[in-house]
């Protein structure tokens, strides 16, 4: 099993989430985060008099745990639906997961996903 973590644009979340659900990946966890990539941040203004840069930008972090065979499908959905082609589209990280346990029933492994 793998955990797919993705940092994406907040405005792409709905489409990513809906597509994941349509493809059968219902369970997910989402965080509102701030971060910085190679992107330099954005310029905001103070009373129209002065400019300042914000280099930590609000992003969405999304986590899905899936069976090994499904990793590619999830990654493809993310690459397609979170994509705008501009700097700041985010990143995907894939991590190994040792075990998954559903608290209510005690099921483990892929049954618990």
């Amino acid at each position: 099993m793998k955990k797919v973590e993705a940092i994406i644009r907040a405005e792409r979340l709905d489409e990513v989430k809906n597509t994941l659900a349509a493809e059968g990946f219902l369970g997910l966890t989402v965080y509102e985060v701030k971060g910085r990539g190679r992107q330099k941040g954005i310029a905001l203004q103070w009373r129209g008099v002065k400019e300042y840069r914000v280099d930590l930008l609000p992003k969405i972090k999304l986590e899905v745990v899936v069976e090994d065979k499904d990793v590619e499908r999830v990654v493809n959905i993310l690459r397609e639906k979170a994509y705008t082609g501009k700097v700041g589209d985010g990143k995907i990280f894939i991590l190994p997961v040792d075990e998954v346990i559903r608290i209510r029933t005690g099921e483990t492994g892929k049954d618990a996903i």
Binding site: E11, D14, N18, K34, A43, L44, Q45, L56, K86
Partner: protein, 405 residues
């Protein structure tokens, strides 16, 4: 000149002024976080733009001597020759300038109401041009018809105490036109667009309710019986409409809605506006209940039809204003405002009210439609999709509502 009347109208003017920023909070709470600053700005822009437009050419177009009852003349351009002395045609006991400022606040809030219809997607530069055109070619003429000294609807005997037709039907019709012309928000219908701050909506509603005492009771233009009656029926109708909407949401959706109660209160305030000087407190309850009911149904219809009048300007102001104008023709009584309605044996008043409402609907809808269409083709009314995704706060203003870290 009467010092009591003058003091009251100046106070009432300040009360109406605070409604426009109040509306900014009312709408601001209902949009998503990324657009909160932009919509508050759009409301403040009315205060900044129309306050100047009114002094330069708005007032004379609305209240100057009439060209065929259709539009005011230009003799008061830049308020030349107006002076401070009372104008007996409009308000005999207060300085003319007090009347002008009181009316200015109505001219300010009316286009601000329309903002809710195309929230979260308009370009700020096109928006500014739209407001100037709309105020000049829609608000000023319609205000002239109903309130100008020889306006044709006034001559006909249309009753509109504080602007049910001039303000609310007018704005509601423009809102409907915008929903037909402008594109919907990206993801409308498929993505949940949650109100980002319901306490802000409540704050805005509180400011609107508070300011509406100036709006309606101030429209008596004297401090006395008429103002007091307007005050009483305004409060009563707002409460009755809020209760009605709350109960309907409870019945149809299982729980009493807070956002719905706020919408109901505003619907009641809208509906009592044309009637405030003409009806009694018991009629006000009926008008309030009707407003809650009709506006609830209208909003449900709008949602079913997938029209993106984002914050229900048509459903609340258009329908509430129409109901109020018709109700004025039903419940008006001579003892209060000098005119009897249907209930007191004068059927023709109802007919006159219907003509007034229909004229405002047709004119405002048509001209607004043309303005929206022309600006959308010529300059583009809505922002680019990526600007809308990021939000208007950052894309239009380079500022955001809530910073952190």
């Amino acid at each position: 000149m009467d010092s009591g009347d003058t003091a009251w109208v100046l106070m009432a003017t300040a009360l109406v002024m605070v409604m426009t920023p109040g509306l900014g909070f009312f709408y601001g709470g209902m949009v998503r976080q990324k657009n909160a600053v932009s919509i508050i700005m759009q409301c403040f822009l009315m205060l900044m733009l129309i306050s100047v437009q009114w002094v330069l050419w708005g007032y004379t177009l609305a209240f100057g001597s009439s060209f065929g009852g259709v539009i005011g003349g230009l003799e008061w351009l830049g308020l030349q020759g107006v002076g401070l002395n009372p104008n007996p045609t409009y308000a005999a006991t207060i300085p003319h300038a007090a009347f002008i400022m009181f009316q200015a606040m109505f001219a300010v809030i009316t286009p601000a109401l329309i903002v809710g219809a195309f929230a979260e997607r308009v370009k700020i530069n096109t928006f500014i041009i739209f407001i100037l055109l709309w105020s000049t070619f829609v608000y000023d003429p319609v205000a002239h018809w109903v309130w100008g000294s020889n306006g044709w609807l006034r001559q006909l005997g249309v009753l509109d105490f504080a602007g049910g037709t001039v303000v609310h039907v007018n704005a509601g019709a423009a809102a409907l036109a915008s929903a037909f012309v402008l594109r919907r928000r990206i993801g409308f219908g498929s993505v949940a667009m949650e109100p980002h701050n319901i306490p802000f909506v409540a704050l805005g509603t509180a400011l609107l309710w508070f300011g509406w005492f100036g709006f309606n009771a101030g429209s008596a233009l004297t401090a006395g019986l008429s103002a007091t009656n307007a005050f009483m029926v305004t409060n009563t109708a707002a409460a009755a409409a809020g209760l009605t909407w709350m109960l309907m949401s409870w019945y149809f959706r299982g729980r009493p809605s807070v956002l719905g109660s706020m919408a109901g209160v505003v619907a009641g305030l809208v509906a009592i506006t044309p009637a405030a000087g003409f009806v009694n407190h018991l009629s006000a309850i009926v008008i309030g209940v009707g407003a809650g009911f009709f506006c609830y149904v209208a909003v449900a219809f709008r949602v079913r039809r997938q029209l993106d009048d984002s914050l229900d300007v048509w459903g609340v102001h258009g329908i509430g204003g129409t109901w109020g104008a018709i109700a004025t023709g039903i419940f008006a009584e001579k003892a209060l405002g000098g005119v009897d309605g249907l209930l007191f044996g004068r059927v023709e008043q109802l007919g006159i009210q219907l003509i007034g409402v229909a004229a405002a609907w047709v004119y405002s809808f048509t001209v607004s439609l043309l303005i929206f269409k022309a600006l959308d083709i010529g300059l583009g009314f809505c922002v680019k999709p990526e600007e809308e995704d990021v939000g208007l706060d950052i894309s239009q203003h380079g500022e955001k509502a809530y910073a952190s870290f």
